[in-house]
Amino acid sequence: MATKIAAGAETLLWHHGAEGHDTISARTLGFWLYMMSDALIFASLFAAYGVLDNPFNAAGGPIAQQVVHPLEGFWQTIAVLGSVLAYSLATVALKNGSKIGVVHGILGAIVLAVVFLGFEAHDLLGLIAQGDGPQRSGFLSVFFMMIASHGLHMVFGILWMLVMLVQVARSGFTGDVVARLLNLRLFWQFQASVWVCVYVYVYLLGGF
């Protein structure tokens, strides 16, 4: 009598000793998933901005067109993308095993990130000085929150880069240090992607 075999019963689904993610890949994938959740925080901010960006929520105060300057935002775009390029080139030096190349790339990224933050601080502090701070209206609250959230990410990125400078100098390219440098690359490149959205959504649409 023939034995019936259920459909798919012979399909090998898994086996002991199967190759999984290696340590570095597991760490970068985990960090990538964290960044996806971080991106959803920005999505919430963009949603709030879309809701509050109208004259009613300006409460008699300035609207987007009066607080954003598309050309000034473009200088920030150059600075943040230049910083991301510098860090990305640091990882090319990492591939070549060049410690000095990694250090130079990270230092370049830090300098350009500080320039970016300088532009941002100048804009926000200028608004506060003329009485248009985040408490002035719903629109200004979400505007400050949006810009400051991205700026805060940049600040933490700079701190992370400073830590990595020390770790590269002290420990060299160990497995842990390399994994952190790769995660920092993801984090830093992510800041450029977020900034493109902020620039277009806030500075260009607002400047129309």
Binding site: A39, G50, N54, F56, S88, K95, V200, L205, F208
Partner: protein, 125 residues
């Protein structure tokens, strides 16, 4: 994604780095953002075509960054990052699109006099 190397610098994600790719990614994004800036400053387009144009340029820029900066593709080393990004995109659309649409409808029906909404175009107008 698995490797049998003991040298971390031999890892595929380290070896993925490419100066040419990063420079092209930087150049592409800068050109697209410059085009968006020029469209904005010229003020020749009505609001909706203007918004569609710069949104299209932003999308192109994000695609180029995904491919050239992040190096996302369907290779064994990158497939799960690409899949998780694709699965997250609908969440962005739902979060931003539906919220803005919902409040825009709410404003129009209950909260704002019609002429106030017309003084500055919103995303959906």
């Amino acid at each position: 994604m698995s490797t049998h190397h003991s040298d971390p610098l031999a890892h595929p994600e380290v070896q993925q780095a490419s100066a040419a790719r990063y420079i092209v990614g930087f150049g592409t994004t800068m050109i697209l953002m410059l085009a968006a800036l020029v469209i904005t400053l010229q003020r020749r387009l009505p609001y909706v075509p203007f918004a569609e144009s710069i949104a299209g340029l932003a999308l192109l820029s994000l695609f180029s960054q995904a491919a050239l900066f992040f190096g996302l593709d369907i290779s064994r080393a990158q497939i799960w990052k690409s899949v998780s990004l694709v699965l997250t995109i609908p969440l962005f659309i739902i979060t931003i699109g539906i919220t803005v649409w919902m409040f825009n409808t709410l404003y129009a029906r209950t909260m704002l006099p019609g002429d106030m909404m017309m003084t500055q175009p919103t995303l959906l107008q």
